[in-house]
Symmetry: C2
Subunit: 420 residues, 2 copies
Amino acid sequence: MPKRNAFYAQSGGVTAVINASAAGVIETARENKQAIGKVYAGRNGIIGALREELIDTSKESKSAIAQLRNTPSGAFGSCRHKLKSLEENRAEYERLIEVFKAHNIGYFFYNGGGDSADTCLKVSQLSKTMGYPLQAIHIPKTIDNDLPLTDNCPGFGSVAKYIAISTREAAMDVASMCETSTKVFILEVMGRHAGWIAAAGGLAAEHEGDAPHIILFPEIAFNPKKFLARVKRCVKQHGFCVIVASEGAKYKDGTLLAGSSHKDAFGHHQLGGLAPTLAEMIKSELGFKYHWAVADYLQRAARHIASTTDVEQAYAVGVAAVKMALQGKNAIMPAIVRGKGKRYSWSIGEAPLEKVANEEKMMPRNYISRDGFGITEEARAYLQPLIAGEAYPTYSKGLPRYVRLKNVAVPKKLKNSFAV
Amino acid sequence: MPKRNAFYAQSGGVTAVINASAAGVIETARENKQAIGKVYAGRNGIIGALREELIDTSKESKSAIAQLRNTPSGAFGSCRHKLKSLEENRAEYERLIEVFKAHNIGYFFYNGGGDSADTCLKVSQLSKTMGYPLQAIHIPKTIDNDLPLTDNCPGFGSVAKYIAISTREAAMDVASMCETSTKVFILEVMGRHAGWIAAAGGLAAEHEGDAPHIILFPEIAFNPKKFLARVKRCVKQHGFCVIVASEGAKYKDGTLLAGSSHKDAFGHHQLGGLAPTLAEMIKSELGFKYHWAVADYLQRAARHIASTTDVEQAYAVGVAAVKMALQGKNAIMPAIVRGKGKRYSWSIGEAPLEKVANEEKMMPRNYISRDGFGITEEARAYLQPLIAGEAYPTYSKGLPRYVRLKNVAVPKKLKNSFAV
């Protein structure tokens, strides 16, 4: 088999550990020089391929690539750009193939969530249609933990850990102050459709009655009356009330609590503003003094307290993607498979992309307590191993040392440019 | 000298390291059993004394007290309750003395910020007026870093570290996404009047042009035109713009950007909502896609990434307070004194309370860059040692192990109750 180059791109919202997957891909490709030439990364994700803006990762030192394992964000840039269907925008797919041909790319590694799995599948299909041999492997990444056919998604464990820790810490703060000051604390967390991240806040509780006292999931219709009654009862019982609320929390009719008319490039609503909305509701109906926090990017970038399980799995799916490609596989995704034993274990399996793309895995109902405001023991058993271990980065002058790559451009070979 | 008991109380907003000061007090008192009987802690701060709700810390194990060093929040509860002047509410002071007499309390350790220093001073003065011998020592604590006569305040270094790390991490996230998505990120941080915490965000930058690109200080009047021009230029130049904004940022006439009519028990305005205000301004004037985060309690409770310098200093002022009391001192505060050498060093000095109380230390103008949007090398040199070192707590099941004390009540001796 003639030696061919690989293309790697990061897609969608970045995470604390997506670069660990990049490290897995690049290091494994470097170990297999007999089959894989260079790994080119897309500058700003897939649009880097469309624009022929490729980064030559062979220019990075071994140590720089190793440091990716400890560096949050997307080292090559990511993007929110969803390729349309072949019928709607065939030109984009043809451009991709054109660029891949020009740079002798035979492996396409796409590191993202559900939308990217869909793109990856389409690229694979087109390569067949157009008679250009290309192996397309999707590498799972999403803090939302909503991909099907994998036990969990790299990126989620670290956010889960951050949210669980932050909830525990902030709750202790409120407990100290509640006698004369703040009675209600609201932490707004990410999770557009699935409540996995909000659920992780539930891990902060050790004993019955511990904070968080209320979790709001997108999966459970928000009932203001029931919610306010619970807040009131909680303050009466514990002196304070801690709420972890998913940004995707919505009313029965599907209206978001924090409605917003913004949409991102994938057509998703841009959310935020839920915490102040809830705070206002509590203040006007119950009169309690409140505080609220919106973790936003802090949660998904918090490499300083990443979960060891998460970092290891993110790295492993990167390694597995390259190995699967070398085995001639196509249109698949390395998946995380949980062992059946009582003690947590995991291995890497594989999932066909046509079953992964555009499907969202919600919290199962039995992970949510009957009243809809908490997590069950089943959820706890599922979540806990995912936040295990502290994969600390190294520090210099009190701050984490994160690598900044050189990101040297690959000289362009095509004459025509392509507007994205 | 007959053996007398000590009273210790936590006051105002709690921090990641105020319990380290408590550990310093209790452990040092235990080492000096010849002079100090028991250490009684106020349940929920000073109101615990007023209500005669005392906690017997002698019921806590050696290991539990040692673990306070690694536990955020206020282990005995804190409160926002400012004692008025002697003329306005003599009854409260007389009640304090009554409770202290009943429990043979000869040492008053008050752990708080400027308002508490003032209370501590008044208690000391009253003990003289009323002929009840009491040594009142104030132990500095405030994330705002605004106490005079001390190089810095325990509690600040850990918030500073958290904000610097979070700014660096979130900025890397935005940098990855800015080509097609978020262009502006705003992190709202605490700091009612002084911009120390916002300034700490500036440590995230290593090189010229690094994020954060704009810092908003309460000390610098907010000029919307200048601000928006800077945001626009920054996005043009770097592709994105990261802003760290102090909750206390205000217009030239003193109006807060995020005005609110709430006031806390000290008469301070309750702030918050600045980040969405700025975001709205940027969206409507410049049209950039934005994200914002409000760290709120997360920042001051973040013991998981506390600064080693901060933890050590918080412990040291607790130890020093007891030693000063044993030396017969009164109406003073142990202060942190920075060594003169090039290499950072510190020692404990003492500051008279009449010079500490009710005074706020703002950022000096030479710590803020000429344009008012950044920090200078002087600020960097001052701040950097305060965030040095990672004083990690221990973990169990992926979460920090924080101690929960038994907080056993001291039997009441007084017949009358006292409404607070």
